[in-house]
């Protein structure tokens, strides 16, 4: 049983995130961390591994320094890390990223590919579906409860209309919700041990990805411009002196909201 967990390095939550005005891309110069909801996917992979043996490999696409973040997954208990790092991949959008990642995953031949809920930098929550289509594998997303039994995954998820329970045979792609578990903290022993676990940095050529299908040439979307959001105007703030309920009703009536 091999479980591949797709993870991403993102700017640390404490860092004030900004876009590079020249490229429209995220400025990744500051402190970085493992994308918070990817940690839930790593945790879920470790639980599955502990229940039924196997190997957990974390797979990422990013700059070489992203390996620092992958080491956190190793410290938690993942067995090895693969980082596809190539200057040609910079600026990849969904089309290009899903292509490169699918190539890397094909090389790993994992029985189960796991994703976290959402990247905290691009706010994307869609990559798994694109990767699953490229891998031609069944996919279940937003999974809040996951079981693996008899060569089949079963996931419970919430939608706008209620709860769905969806089953899929392995090999499959599953994206977990951050409600699925409470991730462990790496132990000191785990942190020390992470350093000696296999950590491979490979190029796009190593996974058989064609250069023109990644990075800017392979992308189909662009960032045209960015600006601060429009400021709110006409804000009113008042202290309740006992008349707040009446004042709220007046305000709502004026705006024709009641």
């Amino acid at each position: 049983m091999r479980i591949a967990v797709c993870v991403k390095q993102v700017p640390d939550a404490a860092v004030h995130k900004r876009l590079d005005p020249g490229t429209g891309r995220l400025d990744r110069a500051g402190e970085s961390a493992l994308n918070p909801t990817d940690v839930n996917a790593v945790e879920e992979a470790l639980r599955l591994k502990e229940a039924q043996e196997g190997e957990v490999v974390v797979v990422s696409l990013g700059p070489e320094k992203a390996m620092e973040s992958l080491r956190k997954a190793l410290a938690m208990g993942a067995d090895r890390a693969i980082l596809v790092s190539d200057p040609a991949a910079a600026g990849s959008d969904l089309v290009a990223t899903s292509y490169a990642l699918a190539k890397a995953l094909e090389r790993e031949e994992a029985d189960l590919v796991l994703f976290g809920q959402q990247s905290s930098d691009a706010d994307g929550a869609v990559l798994w579906a694109a990767v699953a289509d490229r891998l031609r594998r069944p996919m279940v997303s937003q999974v809040a409860e996951l079981t693996l039994e008899g060569g089949k995954v079963t996931g419970k998820r919430q939608t706008e209309f209620g709860y769905d329970v969806i089953a899929a045979p392995l090999p499959a792609v599953v994206a977990v919700s951050d409600a699925i578990n409470e991730p462990r903290y790496p132990s000191l022993k785990g942190i020390m041990g992470a350093k000696s676990k296999p950590q491979e940095v490979i190029s796009l050529a190593d996974v058989g990805a064609e250069a023109e299908r990644v990075g800017e040439p392979g992308s189909r979307t662009t960032v045209r411009s960015s600006a601060p959001p429009p400021a709110k105007s006409g804000q009113v703030k008042l202290e309740d002196d006992g008349s707040a309920p009446e004042k709220i009703v007046e305000y709502l009536a004026e705006k024709r909201l009641v």
């Binding site: 429209g24 969904l94 490229r134 189909r220 959001p229």
Partner: protein, 318 residues
Amino acid sequence: MSTLVYLEAHDGDLTKGGLGVLAKAVALGGDVAGVVLGSGVRDAAAKAGAYGAKTVYVVDDDALAAPLPQPRVDALEAVVGESGATNVLFPASVLTADVAAGLSARLDAGLNWDLTDLRLEGDDLVGVRPALGDTVVVEVGWTTTPRLALIRSGTFDPSETGGTAEVKDVAASFQDFSRLATLVDHLEEQSSGPSIEDADVIVAGGRGLGGPEGFSHCEELAAALGGAVAATRAVVDAGWYPYSAQVGQTGKTVSPKLYIALGISGAIQHKVGMQGSGTIVAINKDPNAPIFDFADLGVVGDLTQIAPKLTELLKARR
């Protein structure tokens, strides 16, 4: 330019989200068609005519009975081929996010998500997306067609134009791998009143409610306004209210006409899920709560005093 709008059918009707996006597509101009995928959905599909669609493509197939994305990618691939659409717009939902991304890979077509507006610049379509916790507004584009876009839920309102649509059946063939995932159980959520995605008014509660019983303030006020009740992540985590009502980064994104926040501090996690609301009213006893930075009307005070009286006043007006 021809635009295809993905319309979601549920219980024999088209959802408000899809019809809202349809209204925007009509406003942009060009040929506008809807697409409805499902089993037994032809009657629902025909209803799109009254909202501005000239044509509605329908793939009616048992393979589409369950709300699963992968067979829908196959069906949509066939419809995009048949219609020659240059734009494919989706109202964002748990299901459509996966359908749009799967289609993006299938067609190598660009997908922009979480858009709060669309406009034309010459022949170019431009999307507007709040990014980085809504601290910056980014304009995005596409380099090829078809251009795929997921629209943030609640962004556009449906507009009843009258009229009828020609319903065109499209046959789809399904990939083997698309049919491997199966729905084994479905539990419809029982709720009274509108869902938070569809509600024009939302009354949301946070830690300032003091405990699960504090949600009675939200429920009574929501009932008086014909609205729905939402909650912050903190109180959902604490077990005060169900996850289905959670608004924010890891919950739902809503944009009702009126959002009343009771005892909510306004952390960025929550803000990104609701700041698209038309008018935001916040009641909080902490004058320094961040929510006052983006509330239209901020009231510093005790919500347990203010909310019941407000509810009474609103009931008296009806």
